[in-house]
Structure formats: C-alpha cells, structure tokens
Amino acid sequence: MAWVNAIIQGVLIGGLYALFACGLSLMFGVMKVVNLAHGDLAVLAGYFAIGIIAVTHVPVLWSFVIVVPLMAVLGYVMQRTILQGALDRSVLTTLMVTFGLSVVIENGLLQFETANTRGIGVGLPLLTESFSVGSIQIAYLLVVIFATAVIVLLGLQYFLSRSKYGRLIRAVADDKEAAQLAGADYRHVFGIAAAIAFGTVALGGIAYGMYSQLSPTTGTDTILLFAFAAVVIGGLGSLWGTLLGGVVLGVAQQIGAQINLSDEILAGYIVFLAVLVLRPQGLISRGAQS
C-alpha cells in the first residue's frame, strides 16, 4: 500500500512540476530562449504573494489574482527589453543574461528577505485538509494543484490552436521572418508568449509556496532543475509531454523516497539521466531534436 501511496502522491506532485515545466517549454518552443531565471521568477512570484498577503490582508487565493497578471506584465516588459535585446545578439547572450538574472534575483531575495524559508498559509480549510481512500491520505491541495495544471495545459492548448494570438505564436515560432513579412510583429508576439509563460510561472511559484516552503535558493536547486527534468523526460516542445514528464519525475521521486528518504531528489535525476541516454527525444516525441 505504501507503494501505491507513493505513486499517487508522485502523480499529484507531477502536476506542480508540469506547471513549472510548461512555461519553460513554451519560451523555448516559441523564442528558442532557455530561461535560466525561470525558477527564480517563480520564487519571486511566491514572495510577491507573501508580501501582498502580509500588507493588504487579502484572502490567500486573491494573491493569484494580483500576482499572476503582475508577473505576466513583467514577462511582456522583460521580453520586449532585455530578453529581446539578448536574442538579437545571440543565443549565448540569452543564456548569459538569464543566468545573470537568476543570480541577481536569488541574491537579491537573500539580501532583502534573508535565507529563511517561507510558506504561504493556505487559509482555506478545504485546502489544508485531506481525504482518505482506503489507507491512503490525499491532500485536497495537491488535487487542486494537479487540476490547475491540467486546466492550464488545456487552456494553453486551446489558446494556441484556436485563438488569433495562438495562431500568431505558432506562426512566429515556425518562422519569425516569414510571419513578420505577413504582417505579424514577432517582437510583440514574443512578448505575449513570455507573458503567458511568466503567468504560469507565477501560478507555479505560489502553488509551491502553499505546498511546501520557499527560500531564495528554491528557484534554482529545485524549481528550475525539476522543470527542466520534466521537459526532457516528457519530450522537448510537447505541451502534454510536460505533464507526463512532471508525473514521471514526481513518481520517481516518491518511489525513491519510499526506498530511502534521502534519495528522493537523486531518484528523480537518475530517471532524468536514463531518459537522456536511452530516449533523448523524450517520452512523447515530435521527432524534432533541439
């Protein structure tokens, strides 16, 4: 029963990882930017939520309504300024700039918010409790996070395949010069894609703060690396692959923890490395290598 429990918990946590992974995957798919500051932006969003709740005393869930649009705007502005500036130079420059941002955000948080861990009090009794199926305890919060991830992915898929901006994003991702010639301002479209990615990052960051604890280093040593592992396991450039990758990573970690409590993270990375060696195109392949 302990193993079934580990698998169920792993699947549910996979939803959280998918929330982080889909933004990373989207930005790479559209702009060919690997945002090394992805995890730190999630942590930043979490700290924004903590600050807003502390100052305005709004109910916890309201922090989503404030922080997600705020991060989306930040995403658009950053894409139109420094990220686009870096992209115009070279791919190497985007890596250096986003790595620089990552270090600046992380150390900025260390400087102003100390290294202490912070949680986001959930507040809603429904979300702090759990229900049991047989002898397995399942937290409502994890179910809600998993459902959020599925809704976000469904929404993204619908948006990309049906809406006007979705078509623009796909067109620009395929060939930005051609899209530009056809009248689409690819810089604006990149900005919108970044806004969506930053919005999902904000969702993930706050959700992580509710599920666990945030600290300035969570962004790199947990969120970025897990998100990346989920993207690689699932398959580069596949939206639903990020959910599959997140679930596989979550299950691997929980099974690892079941074997030896300290092996939780290592087990996830070993599965990641195994996929990298045995199936580098990921579990869901589009046949396209990066």
Partner: protein, 353 residues
C-alpha cells in the same frame, strides 16, 4: 573592398600572415617577470595578502576554463561546479588515505579530467540552453551521490586532514605556490591548445559549423577535448580551494555560485580572448574585497554588470582596451600584414550561438 580582392590584387610579397606583432616579445618577458615576482610573494607579503591572491588564482583558473568552454567552444556550462567539487573531494579522499594534499593535487586534476568523459557522454547531444541546464542537473546529481558516502563527510563535509605537524607558515606558502602554479599552467595550457589544431577547429566551428564539419574538422572531438580540459582545470581550482579552506563541504564546493563567479568574471573581462578572464578576475576581486562586508551585494552588482556587458559591450572590458590600442598579450589568431600599411586583423566575428 573585400579582403579577397585586397589580397589577390596585390603581389604576393606585399603581405604576410603572422601570429604575433612586435610587442609579443616584451609581453612574454613581462608575463615571465610577473610570474617570477608573484612566486616570491610569500617571502615579502603578509599571509592575508597571499590568501586573497590564492582566491584570485582560483577565480582566474575557473574563469579561463569557462572562457574556453563558452567563448571558444560555444558550450555554456552552468555545471562546472561539479568539477570544482570533484577536485576538492579527490584531494579529501586521498588525504584521508594518508597522501599529502599537495601531492594529491595533480591526481585530483587528472581525476577530474577523467570524470569529465562520462559526464560529456551524457550531455554531448544537447545544445545551447539544454546543454546549460543539463550540466546544472549533472552537478546537482554528482553532489547528491557524493553526499551518500558518510566516510567522506556525507552531507556536512569534513575538515581536510594531512596538515598536522606542518608549519602553518609553510602551509600558507605551499598553498600559494600551488594556486599560482595551477593558474599559470591553466593559462599556458589554454594558450597552447588554442594556438594549435584545436584553436583552428574551434575558430572554424565558430564561423560556420556545417562548413567546418564538411571540411573534415572533427567537431565532436574538439568539443569533448575542451570539456575534458575545462573539467580538469576546474578540478584543479577545486583542489586548491579545498587546500586553502582546509575543509570540504558539499554545499559549498558544489555551489552554482562558482559558475556565477567564473561566468561573470569572463563576461565582464571579455569573452573569447585569453586576456578577458584576467581582466575579469581583477574586477571580481576588487569588487569582492570592497563589498565583502555587504554579503550578497557583490554578486548582485557583478550580475547586473555582467548583464549590461553581455548586452552592450559584448567583447567586455578587454575588448574596449583592445579596440583602442590593438594589442594581444596571448596571440592565438592571425594577422595580415600588408606592405607598409598598419597590420590589420582578420575579421574576428563575434560568436553566433
């Protein structure tokens, strides 16, 4: 006028291709004098000064290796802390078994280079951004595996044995010389490698990878060699770090901050020149020493400066110097000298990712 018409329009004896210019002899002499003077430092300065210089040697070695990776081979690795940690742990493991840390240092360098081979095999298929994060995950994995061995300190680390009975002054001096030797050898190795066949292959790949491959350049092999050399170099820096700190702590030696340090020093100094990391190391050390009492601020400032430089002064501080006085302390490229005209550099295009 294009270079081709310029060269074909002149009689053959009017121009020649040369690596160095007049000033290479005296820059070589100056470099030699600087190294000799630095070697005498333990006799003339306080141990506080040599401790700072050991740190500078570590940063210089790391930055030079990162420059070789990112500036010459286009491999942006964010996982070089794996090798810093491995170098430190090789020294620790050998010291536990009774070998002097200073004897262990060369073994640690070779060990880190050998360890780079399987790691390269894991990440060699990935490019640019995916390579960057994959190396990061690898570094985290290596740390998690090492933390499992409680005999070498587990998750908390342990002090470095092997110094008991030695005169502290002598330890300080030996540590300093070890750091100096590592930094000088790192620079010499990179210089010689880039002057040779590897430098040519990397330059060809930088300009056009497909053309380089189709002309028979063994691109994969060149990249692997760079990764192994950078692994050995970062391992050497890690070994010196362990000796100078007298203890090895996994979260400290495997910290991604090492990559931040080497990347920022390189970017600020100038990516893609051997001189760049030297300038960057000086900038880094000055900032770190002046802002040391403000905790994380020096990394924040370094990060902001590095972002600014990467965007607006892509060839770094050394590039700004080079544009004005046109010197190369370590000539690895070629110059075209036309008759009586001033020598002109072959077009050095910035890297495209």
């Amino acid at each position: 006028m294009s270079l081709a018409t310029e060269t074909t329009a002149r009689p053959a004896e009017k121009f020649r291709v040369t690596r160095s210019r007049r000033n290479v002899a005296w820059t070589g002499a100056v470099a030699l004098i600087v190294v000799v003077v630095l070697a005498f430092f333990p006799y003339i300065v306080y141990s506080g000064t040599t401790a700072v210089l050991v740190q500078a040697f570590i940063v210089l070695t790391l930055a030079s290796m990162w420059n070789l990776l990112a500036g010459y081979a286009g491999l942006v690795s964010v996982g070089q802390q794996a090798f810093v940690g491995l170098g430190a742990y090789f020294v620790l493991i050998l010291a536990i078994n009774g070998i002097s840390p200073f004897t262990a240092l060369p073994v640690a360098v070779i060990g880190s280079g050998v360890a780079a081979l399987p790691l390269w095999w894991l990440v060699s298929r990935l490019r640019s951004g995916y390579f960057a994060i994959a190396t990061w995950v690898l570094a985290a994995t290596v740390m998690l595996i090492i933390e499992k061995f409680s005999s070498i300190g587990g998750g908390t680390g342990m002090p470095l044995p092997g110094f008991s009975g030695m005169d502290p002054t002598l330890i300080t001096a030996y540590t300093y010389w070890a750091g100096l030797a590592v930094a000088v050898l790192a620079l010499a190795t990179i210089y010689l490698l880039l002057r040779g066949r590897l430098g040519l292959v990397l330059t060809a790949v930088r300009d056009d990878e497909v053309a380089a491959r189709s002309s028979g350049a063994r691109v994969g092999l060149a990249r692997m060699l760079v990764f192994v050399v950078a692994g050995a170099g970062c391992g050497a820096a890690g070994a010196v770090l362990a000796i100078s700190q007298l203890q090895v702590q996994p979260s400290a030696v495997f910290s991604v901050q090492w990559t931040a340090v080497m990347a920022f020093a390189t970017i600020i100094g100038g990516l893609g020149t051997i001189e760049g990391p030297i300038v960057g190391t000086v900038v880094y050390m000055v900032l770190q020493q002046t802002l040391a009492s403000y905790n994380a601020w020096y990394l924040i400032i370094l990060g902001l400066v590095a972002i600014f430089v990467a965007l607006f002064a892509r060839r770094g501080l050394w590039g700004l110097v080079d544009e004005r006085i046109n010197v190369r302390l370590f000539p690895v490229g070629y110059w075209l000298r036309m008759g009586e005209e001033r020598p002109r550099r072959l077009p050095a295009r910035p890297r495209r990712g």
